[in-house]
Protein backbone atom coordinates (compact mmCIF):
# COMPACT_ATOMS: atom_id res chain seq x y z
CA UNK A 1 0.00 0.00 0.00
CA UNK A 2 1.31 3.48 -0.85
CA UNK A 3 1.80 6.44 1.48
CA UNK A 4 -1.35 8.07 0.08
CA UNK A 5 -3.69 6.98 2.93
CA UNK A 6 -1.36 8.69 5.41
CA UNK A 7 -1.45 11.89 3.34
CA UNK A 8 -5.27 11.77 3.22
CA UNK A 9 -5.37 11.05 6.98
CA UNK A 10 -3.16 14.04 7.84
CA UNK A 11 -5.27 16.31 5.63
CA UNK A 12 -8.49 15.01 7.18
CA UNK A 13 -7.07 15.74 10.64
CA UNK A 14 -6.00 19.25 9.57
CA UNK A 15 -9.43 19.88 8.11
CA UNK A 16 -11.10 18.82 11.35
CA UNK A 17 -8.87 21.17 13.33
CA UNK A 18 -9.60 23.97 10.83
CA UNK A 19 -13.32 23.28 11.26
CA UNK A 20 -12.87 24.00 15.00
CA UNK A 21 -13.91 20.48 15.93
CA UNK A 22 -11.63 20.56 18.96
CA UNK A 23 -13.67 23.44 20.39
CA UNK A 24 -15.70 20.76 22.20
CA UNK A 25 -12.76 20.63 24.59
CA UNK A 26 -13.86 23.97 25.99
CA UNK A 27 -17.24 22.48 26.93
CA UNK A 28 -15.48 19.49 28.44
CA UNK A 29 -13.20 21.75 30.49
CA UNK A 30 -16.18 23.78 31.73
CA UNK A 31 -18.04 20.58 32.62
CA UNK A 32 -15.09 19.26 34.61
CA UNK A 33 -14.52 22.56 36.42
CA UNK A 34 -18.24 22.86 37.22
CA UNK A 35 -18.44 19.27 38.49
CA UNK A 36 -15.28 19.60 40.58
CA UNK A 37 -16.62 22.66 42.35
CA UNK A 38 -20.29 21.70 42.61
CA UNK A 39 -20.36 18.01 43.48
CA UNK A 40 -18.81 18.47 46.91
CA UNK A 41 -21.55 20.99 47.67
CA UNK A 42 -24.56 19.01 46.51
CA UNK A 43 -23.70 15.39 47.24
CA UNK A 44 -22.11 13.21 49.91
CA UNK A 45 -19.22 10.77 49.59
CA UNK A 46 -18.99 10.58 45.80
CA UNK A 47 -16.77 13.52 44.74
CA UNK A 48 -14.13 11.24 43.25
CA UNK A 49 -16.69 8.87 41.71
CA UNK A 50 -18.58 11.66 40.00
CA UNK A 51 -15.46 13.21 38.51
CA UNK A 52 -14.44 9.84 37.03
CA UNK A 53 -17.96 8.83 35.93
CA UNK A 54 -18.77 12.23 34.47
CA UNK A 55 -15.35 12.62 32.86
CA UNK A 56 -15.43 9.21 31.18
CA UNK A 57 -19.08 9.59 30.15
CA UNK A 58 -18.33 13.00 28.62
CA UNK A 59 -15.28 11.63 26.78
CA UNK A 60 -17.47 8.86 25.41
CA UNK A 61 -20.47 11.06 24.49
CA UNK A 62 -18.42 13.87 22.91
CA UNK A 63 -16.39 11.28 21.00
CA UNK A 64 -19.51 9.48 19.78
CA UNK A 65 -21.08 12.72 18.56
CA UNK A 66 -17.90 13.58 16.68
CA UNK A 67 -17.48 10.07 15.27
CA UNK A 68 -21.06 9.91 13.98
CA UNK A 69 -21.59 13.46 12.74
CA UNK A 70 -18.16 13.92 11.16
CA UNK A 71 -17.93 10.29 10.03
CA UNK A 72 -21.14 10.41 8.00
CA UNK A 73 -19.93 13.48 6.12
CA UNK A 74 -16.43 12.26 5.33
CA UNK A 75 -17.17 10.90 1.87
CA UNK A 76 -20.37 12.83 1.19
CA UNK A 77 -18.64 16.21 1.68
CA UNK A 78 -15.88 15.30 -0.78
CA UNK A 79 -18.48 14.34 -3.39
CA UNK A 80 -20.61 17.45 -2.73
CA UNK A 81 -17.63 19.79 -2.98
CA UNK A 82 -16.37 17.83 -5.97
CA UNK A 83 -12.91 17.61 -4.39
CA UNK A 84 -13.11 13.83 -4.61
CA UNK A 85 -12.74 13.91 -8.41
CA UNK A 86 -9.43 15.76 -8.34
CA UNK A 87 -8.25 13.45 -5.55
CA UNK A 88 -9.14 10.28 -7.41
CA UNK A 89 -7.39 11.60 -10.50
CA UNK A 90 -4.18 11.13 -8.51
CA UNK A 91 -2.59 7.67 -8.08
CA UNK A 92 -4.81 6.66 -5.18
CA UNK A 93 -7.28 3.82 -5.05
CA UNK A 94 -10.75 4.37 -3.62
CA UNK A 95 -10.04 1.91 -0.82
CA UNK A 96 -6.89 3.81 0.11
CA UNK A 97 -8.84 7.04 0.12
CA UNK A 98 -11.35 5.52 2.56
CA UNK A 99 -8.61 4.16 4.82
CA UNK A 100 -6.99 7.62 4.81
CA UNK A 101 -10.27 9.34 5.68
CA UNK A 102 -10.89 6.81 8.43
CA UNK A 103 -7.37 7.23 9.81
CA UNK A 104 -7.71 11.02 9.79
CA UNK A 105 -10.92 11.03 11.79
CA UNK A 106 -9.55 8.40 14.16
CA UNK A 107 -6.46 10.57 14.71
CA UNK A 108 -8.72 13.54 15.47
CA UNK A 109 -10.69 11.45 17.95
CA UNK A 110 -7.54 10.10 19.61
CA UNK A 111 -6.10 13.63 20.01
CA UNK A 112 -9.45 14.88 21.35
CA UNK A 113 -9.77 11.94 23.76
CA UNK A 114 -6.17 12.35 24.98
CA UNK A 115 -6.71 16.03 25.75
CA UNK A 116 -9.96 15.27 27.58
CA UNK A 117 -8.20 12.54 29.59
CA UNK A 118 -5.62 15.12 30.59
CA UNK A 119 -8.49 17.40 31.67
CA UNK A 120 -9.95 14.56 33.72
CA UNK A 121 -6.59 14.02 35.43
CA UNK A 122 -6.39 17.74 36.28
CA UNK A 123 -9.94 17.67 37.70
CA UNK A 124 -9.08 14.63 39.85
CA UNK A 125 -5.97 16.39 41.08
CA UNK A 126 -8.06 19.49 41.87
CA UNK A 127 -10.49 17.57 44.10
CA UNK A 128 -7.48 16.56 46.14
CA UNK A 129 -7.29 12.97 45.14
CA UNK A 130 -3.82 11.43 44.92
CA UNK A 131 -3.15 9.27 41.88
CA UNK A 132 -3.26 5.60 42.74
CA UNK A 133 -2.07 2.41 41.11
CA UNK A 134 -5.71 1.45 40.47
CA UNK A 135 -6.06 4.53 38.24
CA UNK A 136 -4.62 2.40 35.45
CA UNK A 137 -8.20 1.15 35.04
CA UNK A 138 -9.25 4.73 34.12
CA UNK A 139 -6.72 4.68 31.29
CA UNK A 140 -8.01 1.27 30.19
CA UNK A 141 -11.58 2.63 30.24
CA UNK A 142 -10.41 5.52 28.03
CA UNK A 143 -8.73 3.01 25.72
CA UNK A 144 -12.01 1.06 25.48
CA UNK A 145 -13.79 4.32 24.57
CA UNK A 146 -11.25 4.84 21.76
CA UNK A 147 -11.95 1.28 20.52
CA UNK A 148 -15.68 2.01 20.61
CA UNK A 149 -15.15 5.23 18.65
CA UNK A 150 -12.99 3.38 16.12
CA UNK A 151 -15.86 0.99 15.49
CA UNK A 152 -18.51 3.74 15.30
CA UNK A 153 -16.33 5.76 12.89
CA UNK A 154 -15.94 2.72 10.61
CA UNK A 155 -19.71 2.20 10.59
CA UNK A 156 -20.42 5.88 9.89
CA UNK A 157 -17.90 5.82 7.05
CA UNK A 158 -19.43 2.65 5.64
CA UNK A 159 -22.93 4.15 5.52
CA UNK A 160 -21.63 7.43 4.12
CA UNK A 161 -20.32 5.51 1.09
CA UNK A 162 -23.81 4.90 -0.25
CA UNK A 163 -26.20 7.09 1.67
CA UNK A 164 -26.96 10.71 2.57
CA UNK A 165 -25.61 12.12 5.88
CA UNK A 166 -29.07 12.11 7.50
CA UNK A 167 -29.73 8.47 6.66
CA UNK A 168 -26.15 7.49 7.51
CA UNK A 169 -26.58 9.09 10.94
CA UNK A 170 -29.79 7.16 11.50
CA UNK A 171 -28.22 3.89 10.35
CA UNK A 172 -25.11 4.37 12.50
CA UNK A 173 -27.10 5.30 15.61
CA UNK A 174 -29.46 2.39 14.91
CA UNK A 175 -26.57 -0.08 14.76
CA UNK A 176 -25.04 1.52 17.87
CA UNK A 177 -28.26 1.13 19.86
CA UNK A 178 -28.77 -2.42 18.59
CA UNK A 179 -25.19 -3.16 19.65
CA UNK A 180 -25.83 -1.74 23.11
CA UNK A 181 -28.88 -3.97 23.53
CA UNK A 182 -27.32 -7.03 21.81
CA UNK A 183 -27.21 -9.08 25.00
CA UNK A 184 -30.87 -8.25 25.72
CA UNK A 185 -31.88 -9.32 22.22
CA UNK A 186 -30.15 -12.67 22.81
CA UNK A 187 -31.79 -13.02 26.23
CA UNK A 188 -35.26 -12.17 24.87
CA UNK A 189 -34.74 -14.84 22.21
CA UNK A 190 -33.86 -17.37 24.92
CA UNK A 191 -37.02 -16.44 26.83
CA UNK A 192 -39.26 -17.39 23.89
CA UNK A 193 -38.20 -21.09 24.02
CA UNK A 194 -38.73 -21.12 20.26
CA UNK A 195 -35.59 -22.60 18.58
CA UNK A 196 -36.03 -20.47 15.42
CA UNK A 197 -36.39 -17.19 17.33
CA UNK A 198 -33.57 -18.21 19.63
CA UNK A 199 -31.35 -18.95 16.62
CA UNK A 200 -32.17 -15.62 14.93
CA UNK A 201 -31.59 -13.70 18.17
CA UNK A 202 -28.26 -15.45 18.71
CA UNK A 203 -27.22 -14.81 15.12
CA UNK A 204 -28.08 -11.13 15.55
CA UNK A 205 -26.11 -11.08 18.79
CA UNK A 206 -22.96 -12.26 17.03
CA UNK A 207 -23.53 -10.15 13.90
CA UNK A 208 -24.00 -6.69 15.39
CA UNK A 209 -21.05 -5.00 17.07
CA UNK A 210 -21.47 -5.58 20.80
CA UNK A 211 -20.75 -2.11 22.14
CA UNK A 212 -21.38 -3.22 25.70
CA UNK A 213 -17.96 -4.94 25.57
CA UNK A 214 -16.35 -1.53 25.80
CA UNK A 215 -18.15 -0.31 28.91
CA UNK A 216 -15.62 -0.13 31.72
CA UNK A 217 -16.66 3.22 33.21
CA UNK A 218 -18.15 1.82 36.43
CA UNK A 219 -15.20 -0.53 36.95
CA UNK A 220 -12.76 2.35 36.48
CA UNK A 221 -14.70 4.59 38.86
CA UNK A 222 -14.50 1.96 41.59
CA UNK A 223 -10.82 1.27 40.92
CA UNK A 224 -11.46 -2.33 39.93
CA UNK A 225 -8.83 -4.25 38.03
CA UNK A 226 -9.70 -4.78 34.39
CA UNK A 227 -8.15 -8.05 33.17
CA UNK A 228 -5.52 -7.68 30.48
CA UNK A 229 -7.10 -10.56 28.57
CA UNK A 230 -10.24 -8.43 28.19
CA UNK A 231 -8.08 -5.59 26.83
CA UNK A 232 -6.53 -7.98 24.34
CA UNK A 233 -9.88 -9.50 23.34
CA UNK A 234 -11.54 -6.11 22.88
CA UNK A 235 -8.60 -4.89 20.80
CA UNK A 236 -8.77 -7.95 18.53
CA UNK A 237 -12.56 -7.71 18.32
CA UNK A 238 -12.32 -4.07 17.21
CA UNK A 239 -9.51 -4.76 14.74
CA UNK A 240 -11.46 -7.59 13.12
CA UNK A 241 -14.75 -5.70 13.03
CA UNK A 242 -13.18 -2.48 11.69
CA UNK A 243 -11.32 -4.45 9.00
CA UNK A 244 -14.58 -6.13 8.01
CA UNK A 245 -16.52 -2.86 7.86
CA UNK A 246 -13.77 -1.00 5.97
CA UNK A 247 -13.51 -3.84 3.45
CA UNK A 248 -17.27 -3.66 2.95
CA UNK A 249 -17.09 0.14 2.64
CA UNK A 250 -14.27 -0.16 0.13
CA UNK A 251 -16.23 -2.73 -1.91
CA UNK A 252 -19.33 -0.50 -1.98
CA UNK A 253 -17.38 2.68 -2.72
CA UNK A 254 -15.30 1.05 -5.48
CA UNK A 255 -18.48 0.07 -7.29
CA UNK A 256 -20.19 3.40 -6.78
CA UNK A 257 -20.82 5.45 -9.91
CA UNK A 258 -19.56 8.92 -9.06
CA UNK A 259 -20.68 10.61 -12.28
Amino acid sequence: MSAMPAVVAINTFREAVRDRVLYNLIFFALLMIGASILVGEISVGIERLVIINLGLAAISIFGLIMAVFIGVGLVYKEIEKRTLYSLLAKPIRRGEFLVGKYGGLLLTLVVNTSLMTLGLAVALFYVGRPFLRSDASILIAVYFIVLELALVTALALFFSCFSSPVLSTLFTLGIYLTGMFAADIRDFGDLTRNPVVQGVARLLYYLVPNFHNFNAIAAAAHGETIPLTLVLHNTLYTLLYVTLVLLAASAVFSRRDLK
Binding site: V44, I46, L49, N53, S60, H212, N215, A218
Partner: protein, 302 residues
Protein backbone atom coordinates in the same frame (compact mmCIF):
# COMPACT_ATOMS: atom_id res chain seq x y z
CA UNK B 1 -25.82 58.09 8.00
CA UNK B 2 -25.59 60.08 11.26
CA UNK B 3 -23.84 58.93 14.43
CA UNK B 4 -27.11 58.47 16.28
CA UNK B 5 -28.63 56.36 13.52
CA UNK B 6 -25.49 54.16 13.56
CA UNK B 7 -25.54 53.60 17.30
CA UNK B 8 -29.32 53.23 17.64
CA UNK B 9 -29.38 49.47 16.89
CA UNK B 10 -26.61 48.89 19.44
CA UNK B 11 -28.47 50.79 22.16
CA UNK B 12 -31.71 49.03 21.25
CA UNK B 13 -29.95 45.71 21.67
CA UNK B 14 -28.36 46.69 25.01
CA UNK B 15 -31.74 47.70 26.39
CA UNK B 16 -33.96 45.31 24.47
CA UNK B 17 -32.14 42.00 24.96
CA UNK B 18 -32.01 42.11 28.80
CA UNK B 19 -35.63 43.28 28.80
CA UNK B 20 -36.69 40.35 26.64
CA UNK B 21 -34.76 37.93 28.85
CA UNK B 22 -36.40 39.44 31.93
CA UNK B 23 -39.82 38.88 30.34
CA UNK B 24 -38.87 35.30 29.44
CA UNK B 25 -37.73 34.66 33.04
CA UNK B 26 -40.98 36.12 34.39
CA UNK B 27 -42.97 33.91 32.06
CA UNK B 28 -40.94 30.86 33.13
CA UNK B 29 -41.76 31.55 36.78
CA UNK B 30 -45.47 31.56 35.87
CA UNK B 31 -45.11 28.32 33.87
CA UNK B 32 -43.20 26.67 36.74
CA UNK B 33 -45.97 27.59 39.17
CA UNK B 34 -48.55 26.01 36.88
CA UNK B 35 -46.60 22.83 36.14
CA UNK B 36 -45.08 22.12 39.59
CA UNK B 37 -47.72 19.58 40.55
CA UNK B 38 -47.37 17.81 37.19
CA UNK B 39 -43.58 17.68 37.57
CA UNK B 40 -43.91 16.16 41.06
CA UNK B 41 -46.26 13.54 39.69
CA UNK B 42 -43.87 12.77 36.85
CA UNK B 43 -40.96 12.38 39.26
CA UNK B 44 -42.85 9.82 41.29
CA UNK B 45 -43.89 7.87 38.23
CA UNK B 46 -40.47 7.86 36.59
CA UNK B 47 -38.52 6.85 39.64
CA UNK B 48 -39.44 3.23 40.13
CA UNK B 49 -37.77 0.69 37.82
CA UNK B 50 -34.02 0.46 38.38
CA UNK B 51 -33.62 -2.49 36.03
CA UNK B 52 -35.31 -0.64 33.18
CA UNK B 53 -33.30 2.51 33.85
CA UNK B 54 -30.13 0.45 33.80
CA UNK B 55 -31.03 -0.90 30.37
CA UNK B 56 -31.90 2.53 29.06
CA UNK B 57 -28.76 4.17 30.44
CA UNK B 58 -26.70 2.92 27.45
CA UNK B 59 -23.73 2.04 29.61
CA UNK B 60 -23.73 5.26 31.60
CA UNK B 61 -25.44 3.54 34.55
CA UNK B 62 -22.78 4.48 37.08
CA UNK B 63 -23.12 8.19 36.19
CA UNK B 64 -26.90 7.90 36.42
CA UNK B 65 -26.46 6.26 39.82
CA UNK B 66 -24.38 9.24 41.00
CA UNK B 67 -27.18 11.52 39.81
CA UNK B 68 -29.84 9.55 41.71
CA UNK B 69 -27.69 9.44 44.84
CA UNK B 70 -27.19 13.21 44.62
CA UNK B 71 -30.95 13.60 44.21
CA UNK B 72 -31.48 11.43 47.30
CA UNK B 73 -29.07 13.62 49.28
CA UNK B 74 -30.87 16.75 48.09
CA UNK B 75 -34.28 15.20 48.81
CA UNK B 76 -33.19 14.25 52.34
CA UNK B 77 -31.48 17.60 52.93
CA UNK B 78 -34.57 19.54 51.87
CA UNK B 79 -36.79 17.68 54.36
CA UNK B 80 -34.61 16.88 57.35
CA UNK B 81 -35.55 18.93 60.40
CA UNK B 82 -38.82 20.19 58.94
CA UNK B 83 -42.04 19.51 60.88
CA UNK B 84 -43.99 16.47 59.59
CA UNK B 85 -41.13 15.67 57.20
CA UNK B 86 -42.17 13.10 54.62
CA UNK B 87 -39.35 10.92 53.24
CA UNK B 88 -41.60 8.79 51.05
CA UNK B 89 -39.35 8.91 47.97
CA UNK B 90 -36.07 8.32 49.83
CA UNK B 91 -36.19 4.53 49.55
CA UNK B 92 -37.08 4.47 45.80
CA UNK B 93 -34.20 6.87 45.12
CA UNK B 94 -31.72 4.78 47.13
CA UNK B 95 -33.09 1.64 45.51
CA UNK B 96 -32.46 3.15 42.06
CA UNK B 97 -29.00 4.46 42.91
CA UNK B 98 -27.86 1.09 44.25
CA UNK B 99 -29.51 -0.90 41.44
CA UNK B 100 -27.76 1.28 38.85
CA UNK B 101 -24.42 1.00 40.63
CA UNK B 102 -24.35 -1.85 43.17
CA UNK B 103 -20.89 -0.72 44.28
CA UNK B 104 -21.89 2.80 45.32
CA UNK B 105 -20.82 2.54 48.96
CA UNK B 106 -21.90 6.07 49.90
CA UNK B 107 -25.51 5.26 48.99
CA UNK B 108 -25.54 2.20 51.27
CA UNK B 109 -23.71 3.73 54.22
CA UNK B 110 -25.24 7.22 54.32
CA UNK B 111 -28.54 6.03 52.87
CA UNK B 112 -28.99 3.60 55.79
CA UNK B 113 -28.50 6.48 58.21
CA UNK B 114 -31.02 8.67 56.35
CA UNK B 115 -33.53 5.80 56.41
CA UNK B 116 -33.03 4.77 60.02
CA UNK B 117 -33.06 8.19 61.70
CA UNK B 118 -36.31 8.81 63.53
CA UNK B 119 -38.59 11.83 63.99
CA UNK B 120 -37.94 14.65 61.58
CA UNK B 121 -34.30 13.55 61.16
CA UNK B 122 -35.06 10.65 58.83
CA UNK B 123 -37.54 8.20 57.43
CA UNK B 124 -37.68 6.08 60.62
CA UNK B 125 -37.50 2.93 58.50
CA UNK B 126 -34.79 0.82 60.08
CA UNK B 127 -36.28 -2.21 58.32
CA UNK B 128 -35.46 -0.63 54.95
CA UNK B 129 -32.05 0.50 56.20
CA UNK B 130 -31.27 -3.12 57.16
CA UNK B 131 -32.52 -4.27 53.75
CA UNK B 132 -30.30 -1.69 52.02
CA UNK B 133 -27.19 -2.69 53.96
CA UNK B 134 -27.87 -6.41 53.42
CA UNK B 135 -28.16 -5.73 49.70
CA UNK B 136 -24.86 -3.83 49.85
CA UNK B 137 -23.17 -6.74 51.63
CA UNK B 138 -24.47 -9.17 48.99
CA UNK B 139 -23.12 -6.97 46.17
CA UNK B 140 -19.85 -6.08 47.95
CA UNK B 141 -18.78 -9.02 50.12
CA UNK B 142 -15.28 -7.54 50.38
CA UNK B 143 -16.51 -4.40 52.20
CA UNK B 144 -16.35 -5.20 55.94
CA UNK B 145 -17.61 -1.70 56.87
CA UNK B 146 -21.09 -2.61 55.64
CA UNK B 147 -21.10 -5.47 58.14
CA UNK B 148 -20.30 -3.10 60.99
CA UNK B 149 -23.01 -0.73 59.72
CA UNK B 150 -25.47 -3.61 59.91
CA UNK B 151 -24.26 -4.39 63.42
CA UNK B 152 -24.78 -0.75 64.35
CA UNK B 153 -28.37 -0.79 63.03
CA UNK B 154 -29.21 -3.97 64.94
CA UNK B 155 -27.55 -2.71 68.09
CA UNK B 156 -28.60 0.92 68.26
CA UNK B 157 -31.82 1.09 66.31
CA UNK B 158 -33.36 -2.32 66.93
CA UNK B 159 -31.64 -3.24 70.21
CA UNK B 160 -31.32 -6.72 68.77
CA UNK B 161 -28.02 -7.65 70.41
CA UNK B 162 -27.71 -11.28 69.18
CA UNK B 163 -28.15 -10.15 65.52
CA UNK B 164 -25.80 -7.20 66.11
CA UNK B 165 -23.13 -9.55 67.48
CA UNK B 166 -23.67 -11.91 64.52
CA UNK B 167 -23.28 -9.00 62.06
CA UNK B 168 -20.02 -7.86 63.67
CA UNK B 169 -18.76 -11.45 63.76
CA UNK B 170 -19.56 -11.92 60.06
CA UNK B 171 -17.78 -8.65 59.21
CA UNK B 172 -14.75 -9.73 61.26
CA UNK B 173 -14.31 -12.76 58.98
CA UNK B 174 -13.19 -10.40 56.20
CA UNK B 175 -9.37 -10.49 56.06
CA UNK B 176 -9.32 -6.71 55.62
CA UNK B 177 -11.36 -6.09 58.80
CA UNK B 178 -9.40 -4.63 61.72
CA UNK B 179 -9.13 -6.50 65.02
CA UNK B 180 -11.66 -4.31 66.81
CA UNK B 181 -14.54 -5.74 64.74
CA UNK B 182 -14.08 -9.17 66.31
CA UNK B 183 -13.72 -7.60 69.75
CA UNK B 184 -16.93 -5.67 69.13
CA UNK B 185 -18.73 -8.90 68.23
CA UNK B 186 -17.65 -10.43 71.54
CA UNK B 187 -18.48 -7.30 73.52
CA UNK B 188 -21.97 -6.94 72.01
CA UNK B 189 -22.66 -10.63 72.64
CA UNK B 190 -21.50 -10.34 76.24
CA UNK B 191 -22.64 -6.87 77.28
CA UNK B 192 -25.32 -5.78 74.81
CA UNK B 193 -27.02 -2.58 75.90
CA UNK B 194 -24.24 -1.41 78.25
CA UNK B 195 -22.92 2.14 78.17
CA UNK B 196 -19.45 0.80 77.53
CA UNK B 197 -20.53 -1.07 74.39
CA UNK B 198 -22.69 1.78 73.10
CA UNK B 199 -19.79 4.18 73.55
CA UNK B 200 -17.44 1.85 71.68
CA UNK B 201 -19.91 1.54 68.79
CA UNK B 202 -20.43 5.29 68.45
CA UNK B 203 -16.71 5.90 68.73
CA UNK B 204 -16.03 3.45 65.90
CA UNK B 205 -18.72 5.11 63.77
CA UNK B 206 -17.07 8.49 64.40
CA UNK B 207 -13.72 7.05 63.49
CA UNK B 208 -14.92 5.33 60.32
CA UNK B 209 -16.08 8.45 58.49
CA UNK B 210 -14.82 11.87 57.55
CA UNK B 211 -18.33 13.18 56.91
CA UNK B 212 -18.85 16.16 59.27
CA UNK B 213 -22.60 15.48 59.74
CA UNK B 214 -22.07 11.89 60.87
CA UNK B 215 -19.18 12.91 63.10
CA UNK B 216 -21.35 15.62 64.69
CA UNK B 217 -24.11 13.09 65.23
CA UNK B 218 -21.68 10.60 66.80
CA UNK B 219 -20.23 13.34 69.05
CA UNK B 220 -23.75 14.29 70.18
CA UNK B 221 -24.53 10.67 70.99
CA UNK B 222 -21.25 10.18 72.85
CA UNK B 223 -21.91 13.30 74.93
CA UNK B 224 -25.48 12.13 75.53
CA UNK B 225 -24.24 8.71 76.67
CA UNK B 226 -21.84 10.37 79.09
CA UNK B 227 -24.65 12.51 80.54
CA UNK B 228 -26.98 9.50 80.87
CA UNK B 229 -24.27 7.48 82.59
CA UNK B 230 -23.52 10.40 84.96
CA UNK B 231 -27.20 10.71 85.84
CA UNK B 232 -27.57 7.00 86.44
CA UNK B 233 -24.61 7.00 88.82
CA UNK B 234 -25.90 10.14 90.60
CA UNK B 235 -29.30 8.47 91.05
CA UNK B 236 -27.58 5.48 92.67
CA UNK B 237 -25.57 7.78 94.94
CA UNK B 238 -28.76 9.65 95.85
CA UNK B 239 -30.24 6.35 97.07
CA UNK B 240 -27.12 5.71 99.18
CA UNK B 241 -27.35 9.24 100.58
CA UNK B 242 -31.01 8.66 101.48
CA UNK B 243 -30.08 5.51 103.42
CA UNK B 244 -27.52 7.43 105.50
CA UNK B 245 -29.34 10.76 105.99
CA UNK B 246 -33.02 9.66 105.70
CA UNK B 247 -33.71 12.31 103.08
CA UNK B 248 -32.97 12.85 99.40
CA UNK B 249 -30.10 15.13 98.37
CA UNK B 250 -31.01 18.52 96.88
CA UNK B 251 -27.67 19.10 95.14
CA UNK B 252 -24.50 17.31 94.09
CA UNK B 253 -22.67 19.49 96.62
CA UNK B 254 -24.39 17.51 99.41
CA UNK B 255 -23.11 14.25 97.88
CA UNK B 256 -19.61 15.75 97.81
CA UNK B 257 -19.86 16.85 101.46
CA UNK B 258 -21.07 13.36 102.39
CA UNK B 259 -17.92 11.92 100.79
CA UNK B 260 -19.86 10.09 98.08
CA UNK B 261 -18.26 12.15 95.28
CA UNK B 262 -14.69 13.25 94.70
CA UNK B 263 -15.75 16.34 92.74
CA UNK B 264 -18.81 18.05 91.30
CA UNK B 265 -19.80 16.27 88.07
CA UNK B 266 -20.80 18.54 85.20
CA UNK B 267 -22.74 17.95 82.00
CA UNK B 268 -21.03 18.26 78.57
CA UNK B 269 -21.77 22.01 78.63
CA UNK B 270 -20.04 22.42 82.02
CA UNK B 271 -23.16 22.84 84.21
CA UNK B 272 -23.49 20.78 87.43
CA UNK B 273 -26.37 18.30 87.49
CA UNK B 274 -29.32 19.16 89.71
CA UNK B 275 -31.70 16.95 91.72
CA UNK B 276 -35.46 17.00 91.49
CA UNK B 277 -37.79 16.49 94.50
CA UNK B 278 -38.00 12.78 93.55
CA UNK B 279 -34.23 12.40 94.06
CA UNK B 280 -33.58 11.94 90.35
CA UNK B 281 -30.74 13.92 88.76
CA UNK B 282 -31.45 16.26 85.83
CA UNK B 283 -29.63 18.70 83.59
CA UNK B 284 -29.44 22.24 84.92
CA UNK B 285 -32.22 24.27 83.21
CA UNK B 286 -29.56 26.88 82.43
CA UNK B 287 -27.60 24.33 80.40
CA UNK B 288 -28.17 24.37 76.66
CA UNK B 289 -27.22 20.71 76.39
CA UNK B 290 -29.97 18.36 75.26
CA UNK B 291 -29.59 14.61 75.65
CA UNK B 292 -30.32 12.96 72.28
CA UNK B 293 -33.40 10.75 72.46
CA UNK B 294 -32.86 7.04 72.88
CA UNK B 295 -33.64 5.05 69.75
CA UNK B 296 -37.21 4.01 69.29
CA UNK B 297 -38.27 0.88 67.50
CA UNK B 298 -39.05 1.36 63.80
CA UNK B 299 -42.47 1.32 62.23
CA UNK B 300 -43.69 -2.09 61.16
CA UNK B 301 -42.66 -2.92 57.58
CA UNK B 302 -45.29 -2.15 54.97
Amino acid sequence: MTFSSQTRPVWSAIVGVPLLFALIALLQVRIDAQTRSVAQQKQEMLLRSGTLLRKLSLGYDSLLSDIYWTRAVQYYGARVGTPQANFELLWPMLDLATTLDPKLMAAYRFGAIFLSETGNAGAGRTDLAVQLIKRGIAANPDQWRLGTDLGFLYYWRLQDYPDAAAAYLEASKNPQAPAWVKLMAARVAEKGGSFETSRAIWFQLYDSTSDPNIRRKATEQLRGLRAREDQMQLDELAKQYQKSYRRLPVSTKELLEAGLLNGIPVDPEGFPYVFGPDGKSHLDPASSFVIPPEPSLPAAPK
